[in-house]
Assembly symmetry: C2
Amino acid sequence: MIGIFDSGIGGMTVARAVEQLLPEYSIVYLGDIARTPYGSKSPATITDYSLRNTEFLLEKGAEIIIIACNSASSVATEALRREFQTPIIEVITPAAEKAIATTKNGRIGVIGTRATIRSGVYDQTICDRQPEFKVFSAACPLLVPLVEEGWINKQETKMILRRYLHPLKDRQIDTLVLGCTHYPLLKGLIQARIGKRVNLIDSSVETAKYVRELLTAQPELVHRDENGATTHRYYVSDLTDSAQMVAAKIFERPLELLLT
Amino acid sequence: MIGIFDSGIGGMTVARAVEQLLPEYSIVYLGDIARTPYGSKSPATITDYSLRNTEFLLEKGAEIIIIACNSASSVATEALRREFQTPIIEVITPAAEKAIATTKNGRIGVIGTRATIRSGVYDQTICDRQPEFKVFSAACPLLVPLVEEGWINKQETKMILRRYLHPLKDRQIDTLVLGCTHYPLLKGLIQARIGKRVNLIDSSVETAKYVRELLTAQPELVHRDENGATTHRYYVSDLTDSAQMVAAKIFERPLELLLT
């Protein structure tokens, strides 16, 4: 069983991609809606919550853990790997490697929460591999509340995006990492504002692809449920109408959310 | 000692008013930044957090508790009064009574978080006292994140306010309750958008006045610290730069925040 957690519902974009790319695996998901959002909180608090979320998923039978949250991946991955023997997958490396493989001019933009951008983890991951590349990043803290409100196509969201993306517009980037699992829901608006020629990298899809490669190479890591015997359970630490709404939008079907 | 809690830093507008109106009393404050915001979460979760916050303040020596958060006041007051002997003060009644005393035409607007507006507590409190009055309310869930980002005077905030206040503009209200302790920071923008002739009721100031009346009538409730011997302690469950910034803005001085 594949365990996935996020601060809330954004990580469901990862779960959805895992469902599609790895249909023979069961999923247990935890969205920590009671303490959402993580991206404006301190590294110590985000790490504490990530440890507790991982314990919950392990108790439910998870054999690997995907941290489907860029903020938690940025600040809590090392602590989780120290604490648990279970393989811990984060969303940063798959997105960073895809960006490196995609860029032609070596100029990469990254947008994310304040916690993700402040950690500098994308800059470090990219520059460790390609020291001559330039990374330009921008924190976009209001995008998560806007997505959670369902303000996906509102004029105000467009204006706020324009303000956030403005410093990246002059940098001649040809690739932009959507460094938050909520942002795929704003993909169209972001593409329109940053320009058609900029490649958008979706950390959710890249992480699902990375897990597929991992399980092809090491199939013994996770038990497979053949012949349609998979079960997917979506837990949340708080149950709200807007969570139900955004979850249904992500999965394009009504999703039963289970209260922890 | 007066105990005050909020989901975060908005309740500091209440603490600031208490400092000014009741200079002879010590204050212990708890801002639950690690789990902020409350206003989009469920009543059960908000109540659970409110119980724990109250326990914390009582351990620190609080003799009365002010719930300096409209969301928690709306859904958790009864549970706190059942659980604790200590007097529990909420912010709804003082604001509702001031609105009743202020309106000339009996048409009152209320803005607040989703939790506050959905609870219907302002409608009920006003209509219990004045059944012929009309209450018109609007949930404004993005205002808290905007204030916490310090976007106090940005064009996008003005547009979002215009959208939220639009349904109230046609209602001929002459009084508008700022039913969230973050909103006093947006007072100027709200006044400009709702019109000069509408009276704004600040739940923070009204609550501080109510506590002053209570302690005048029942001085035995809280120990006084005469001759400048008061101590004010401001605790937070998470420490972030933006919390420091907004706290300094509210108090017009740098404020030492203590991590719980």
